[in-house]
Structures are given as structure tokens and as C-alpha cells.
Symmetry: C2
Subunit: 392 residues, 2 copies
């Protein structure tokens, strides 16, 4: 066996997205101790930068030392005690995982399903809250990575809060790619991942808890089932100043990378980043539609950073993806769950959301689909893309 030399790819799937070269360089800097004063300064900066991108003043804002799925688990394992009633609004794979978390923890699950590929319908939440006035937590996914759908987090959080419920909101794919406004929404537990619109390597989960949620955790009747994710302990490690209580060894080099990713995001500015994601999405859309390809999600519910495209009749979607990878080192994503075989997931996330990638994706798709005799319009996608950029 030899040292691993990865083939350079362009990552336009549902994540990981292309990692910015500045971030790769940051991760290779010499490791320092996790209790080193220099590192503690870094931790403080990361907390402040995360507050900025989450748009929150929550003191409990920090990266968990594990991927986004651990952020989901941390939310549920800390807020849900056995017997607690939890409404999970599900419109894709990741809402399903939320439901599984509730069941494993002995919570009482109220599952409210919306169609895959559609936003969550606030009327359904209203009905569920009325039917279950003893609900403690309402949980949903802001940006469903399995369907490319954005739900109206502001409205859903407001309804939950009016009913006296806590909210858990999955922002794995939304953070930095479209508006996430934790304090504006009044959300209580929000988590994300590093490998989507932050363009950082996968492995960490940015996480934030409202003071209300922190209070609920501190006054639990039963111990948190997880030692590793017990926020009572993690708070002691990520708390203020030099009096940190050792909990676990922080993933030092991964945090170098996250710090750099957050600097890049904050330097660009959140609104500028959302606008960039929207513009590149419009250009991709124009090109794909000119080719004759259709989007799976209604326009007003689409995530600009994750485009679900219906696979044309008679085309083997896996063959197309393999060809894109083999011929052009371009990765796009497959459908997940019930959408397997039916859609592609094309990500334009963070550093990968650039005109040169839109161009590459349109040209490569046209090349591969043409070669496989798929019924597409040829020679028109680039003009359509160009027109969309000019109109923007």
C-alpha cells in the first residue's frame, strides 16, 4: 500500500462540496495542544464567527466534534427525555432520521408527513399542534438534502413557539447558502455541517442552542443518554475564558479548517453569499431547462445550492454519473430514498458555486447525455446560461 493521492474532482453533489484551497492549507498547519492558550483563542474566534453566520447571540454556539448527524443526535438526546412528545415534520430522508432519533430515545413521536419534493405545509403543523397540545418539541429540516427543498423556517418556528414548544431545525445544507436566521426565527436548537456551503472538509457540526433550550437541558429529570454529546459537559469545555473543563480532545486541525471557512464566509458577507448562490442557480437552471431537463421541485420551494433534476425517460442515471466522473472528474449526486434512480442532485455549494462550475456541469451533461442518445436539445444551454448571468 502507498500514500493516497486522490484524483482531483469537481464536487457538485449534495456534499462534500469542493473545499477552498485556503481551507486545505489551514488544515495542514502544525497541530497545537487542545488546551494551548493559542488554541483557546482560536476556539473563541470560532464561536464568534459561528454566531455571525447563524445570525444569533446564543452564547452556546460551537462546533461539535463529529459530522452533522451528530448535530442532529445532540439536539434530540439533550432536549428529549423518555415520554416527551415530539412532532417531526418530515418531507425527506433527514426528517425520517429525526423521527428515528425520537423513537430511540423513548420519546413519543408524532410524525407529520409532507410529500417528498415539497415544502412542509404550515397548516399541517397547525393541525398537529391542535391535536397534540402536550407537545414539547417541534422538529424539521430547513433544507432537505434528499429533495432540494427549502421550508419556511420562520413561520414554522413562530407557530411552534406560540404553542409553547421548543424547535429543532436542521440547517445542514442551508447555512451560508441561503438565509439562516436563528434569532429572527426564534429557533432553539440548530445544527449544520461543514461540508456543504461552508466548503470545508466534512467532520464537524456547527451547533447553537437558545438560552431557553439550555435551561431545559440544565433542568432535565434524567441524565442525557450520551456522555459524548451531553451539552452540560460540552458547555464546560467550550465555555468562556481559561477555566475550561477537559471533556474530549478537540479535532484541532479540522477546527483550523473551520475557522478559515468561517473567515471566508464572513469576509464575503452573508447576503453576498446568498445572492451568489441564487445567481449561479438561475444560470444552471436556464441552461438545464434550455436542454429540456426539468426541475423536480416547484420553483418557489427550491434550494439554490441543491438542484434536483428529473432523469429523462429511458436514461440510466447511474451510467451518466459514472461517465461524468470518468470523462470529466465531475461528481453529481444520485437520488436518495424513494427518489433513487429518478433524480440527480446537483450541488452549487459554497466554493463550488461558481460560473466555471455551472459551465462545466452544463457542458459535461450535454456531452454525456448526447453520447447516450438522450432526448435533449443540443447547443443551446451555454447561451441560456449566459443570458441568465447577463440578466442578473
Amino acid at each position: 500500500m502507498q500514500s493516497f493521492i486522490p484524483i482531483p474532482r469537481t464536487l457538485m453533489g449534495p456534499g462534500p462540496s469542493d473545499v477552498h484551497p485556503r481551507i486545505l492549507t489551514a488544515m495542514a498547519k502544525p497541530t497545537v495542544g487542545h488546551l494551548d492558550p493559542e488554541f483557546i483563542r482560536l476556539m473563541d474566534e470560532i464561536k464568534r464567527l459561528l454566531q455571525t453566520v447563524f445570525q444569533t447571540d446564543n452564547a452556546l454556539t460551537l462546533p461539535l466534534s463529529a459530522p452533522g448527524s451528530a448535530g442532529m443526535e445532540a439536539s434530540f438526546v439533550n432536549l428529549v427525555e423518555p415520554g416527551d412528545k415530539v412532532i417531526v415534520l418530515q418531507n425527506g430522508v433527514f426528517g425520517g432520521r429525526m423521527a428515528e432519533n425520537v423513537e430511540r430515545l423513548g420519546g413519543t413521536l408524532v410524525r407529520v408527513e409532507s410529500p417528498w419534493g415539497r415544502a412542509i405545509d404550515p397548516a399541517q403543523l397547525e393541525a398537529a399542534l391542535k391535536a397534540h397540545p402536550d407537545t414539547k418539541v417541534v422538529a424539521f429540516v430547513h433544507a432537505e438534502t434528499s429533495t432540494g427543498v427549502k421550508s419556511d423556517a420562520k413561520t414554522l418556528c413562530a407557530m411552534a413557539q406560540a404553542a409553547g414548544c421548543l424547535t429543532i431545525v436542521d440547517c445542514v445544507t442551508s447555512l451560508v447558502g441561503c438565509e439562516v436566521d436563528v434569532d429572527g426565527w426564534g429557533a432553539d436548537a440548530v445544527y449544520s455541517g461543514t461540508q456543504k456551503c461552508l466548503s470545508c472538509a466534512p467532520g464537524l457540526s456547527p451547533f447553537t442552542l437558545s438560552p431557553r433550550a439550555a435551561e431545559v437541558i440544565q433542568s432535565r429529570g434524567t441524565p442525557v443518554k450520551s456522555w459524548f454529546l451531553d451539552m452540560n459537559l460540552i458547555m464546560g469545555y467550550w465555555g468562556e475564558g481559561q477555566t475550561r473543563a477537559y471533556h474530549h480532545t478537540a479535532p484541532v486541525n479540522a477546527l483550523y479548517g473551520l475557522h478559515e471557512a468561517l473567515l471566508i464566509a464572513v469576509d464575503e458577507g452573508l447576503s453576498a453569499s446568498w445572492l451568489r448562490h441564487q445567481r449561479n442557480h438561475e444560470a444552471l437552471k436556464a441552461g438545464l431547462e434550455a436542454m429540456g431537463l426539468a426541475f423536480f421541485v416547484p420553483e418557489s420551494e427550491r434550494l439554490p445550492q441543491l438542484n434536483l433534476v428529473t432523469v429523462p425517460e429511458g436514461v440510466d442515471e447511474a451510467v451518466v454519473r459514472r461517465q461524468l466522473l470518468a470523462d470529466f472528474n465531475l461528481e453529481i449526486g444520485a437520488g436518495l430514498g424513494v427518489l433513487a434512480g429518478k433524480v440527480w442532485r446537483i450541488g452549487l455549494m459554497g466554493y463550488a458555486s461558481r460560473p466555471e462550475n455551472v459551465l462545466l456541469c452544463l457542458s459535461a451533461l450535454e456531452s454525456v447525455l448526447s453520447a447516450s442518445q438522450a432526448p435533449i436539445h443540443r447547443g443551446v444551454a451555454i447561451d441560456a446560461m449566459q443570458a441568465a448571468y447577463s440578466a442578473a
Copy 2:
């Protein structure tokens, strides 16, 4: 805020240890997708390399996507169901965490304590097994990071197995630094960390499960309380071939680093690595003892990779550590738990276990202790170190 430029340190604490430059370089390679065929090949190689360093044929040998504490939690959350009786042999901080895991999961805890700074006494396990014939799991720490003590894993595992119990063994600090022989011991769940003798960045937990343990997990009566650490799901992702079920997004760049670290360890050879750790330990010991400093742990129970040194009377240990860091960029560790203020923990782990570091540590300690009027013998440590190397 600006990009973080760490001050280069020499890491001779209890971990993280100095990361090998080859590993830093590996982590900065371009990220590929976690379902990329190239990455799946890397995962297969990592599994094989981990089997080599763990000395096991266990098919279920893989790195968990979180630090060593998650490895501990994965062991307990998968093997312990509510009401299961677990004997925890505790002789330091990390045995205490094991006990906490059992309690949080609703297991019935039998805690057997040995003095801090001493190996676990097999006679105590014998008595506990006799008193509790309905025990399901015996858990202990092979190399206690809080005390620098090595326990006799082979004997303890054999006794547990004879009583029909499963074993959970913490090898966070031992792996690659001294013998870990999973199949020879007959251990059932063994976990480690990347930031000790593998000299890799912190953040992952090498993990292995015996077929017997896997069977117990597959036939559980209750679901695993953790979705993120449920081995039934993780097995599906790290299983053989191209039919992997997506579970979470693997920490791609961290795994590049682990692959490189494992290559370095296997290229050196396990016996050669253990011998190197032992020789550098002997040289450090000779120098420290010549200075008049004393070891905290009886000679036969010491870990060569983690040296607990008693702080001399009248010396403020924290001042000394701060001075070592300020003057020489040298990090050594403080005492943990009941040993806080009483000992230093000096690591010679992996890439950090080198004669130049032994020399640096002895010289720097002599410089700082002399300046603070500590009662040490001066000008003799280097000769003693040199003599030890010559005798080896």
C-alpha cells in the same frame, strides 16, 4: 479576525502528540466525495491497516468519525442494554467515564476500584466475577492516560472470557506505543484515538469488534440508543464492496491523515515501534532520575509513551508548564482528576518519541526548574540519557 497561524510547538503532553509532516500534507489533499470509488478503495485500505495495528482479523474494524470518547461511547451504547450488569475496573479518570457510560445507559454498574497510579489487580476482577456471576460485560482501560499505567489486558480478558463475559478495552493511549493484541487477548470491543501514538490529528477513533460482539449487537432486544453510533448502521456503510449504505458523510480529509499515519506505523513495524517507545522512555527516565525527579508509577506498570513525574515539593507545576511553553514552545501535560497539581504527564508518543525530544525535554526542564530554585541535580541529566541510549 485573521487566518490562524499556530505557533509551532513540540507536543509532549498526553496527546495530541506531534503530527508527522507526512500526515499534515496528506490531510491537505483535495477532498473527494465520500462515495467516490477512489475513496471506497481508501476505506478498504484503512480497514486492513487497522487490522494490522490492532493485531486482529475482526471484519468489523474501522475508524469512527469522532474522537476516542465516541469510541468509548460506541462500545457501551452498542453492547449494554438497560439492566445489563457491567463490571468496570477503574484505576483513573477514563475508567470513571466508562462507569458513567454504563449508568447513563441504564446498565447495572459494578465498580471495582484500584488505586490511581497502579495497574488493575486481576484478583479484584476474580472476586467481582465470583460475586456477580450474571455479569455481561467487563470493561477496563489498558493504558490509563490519566496515570500513565498499563494493565495486564491479556490476563483480564482471559478471566472475563472464562466467566462468559464480553470485554470492552480502552486502548486510546496504548495502540502502536506498546503491544495491543486484540485477537491474542480475545477482547471483544476495543477502541483507540488517532492523536496519541499514531501521531495523527485528533478527531477519529479506531474501533474493532469481535464476531461474538457483533452477534450480540445484531440480536439486541432494544434499539441502540444512539443513531450516530449504532454499529448495525455503521456496518452497512463500512461493509465490503460497492453496496455501501449511506450513513453519514465520512470525514474525508481526516481519513487521508489516518491512512498515512497507519502506513507510517506499518512501515516501521509494530515491534520496532514498541522498542523505540521503550528506548526513548528509558533515556528520559535516566535523565529525569539523574536530576532527582521521581516517577509516580511502579516501574513494571509504566507506559513507555506516557511518563508521570512527581512534582517536587514547593514547585508550582502550572508555572513550570507555562514557562516551558513560553521559553521553549514545549508542551507537557498537567495531572488530571485527583492528580491535578501533583504530577506532570510527559508524553513520548509516536512521531514525538525521538531522541531530540528526550534531549529537549530534559534540557528545558533543567533550565526552568533551575531558574525557579527547585531542588534538582544540575548538569547530569544529559550524560545519564546518553548512557541509557548507549546501553540499549
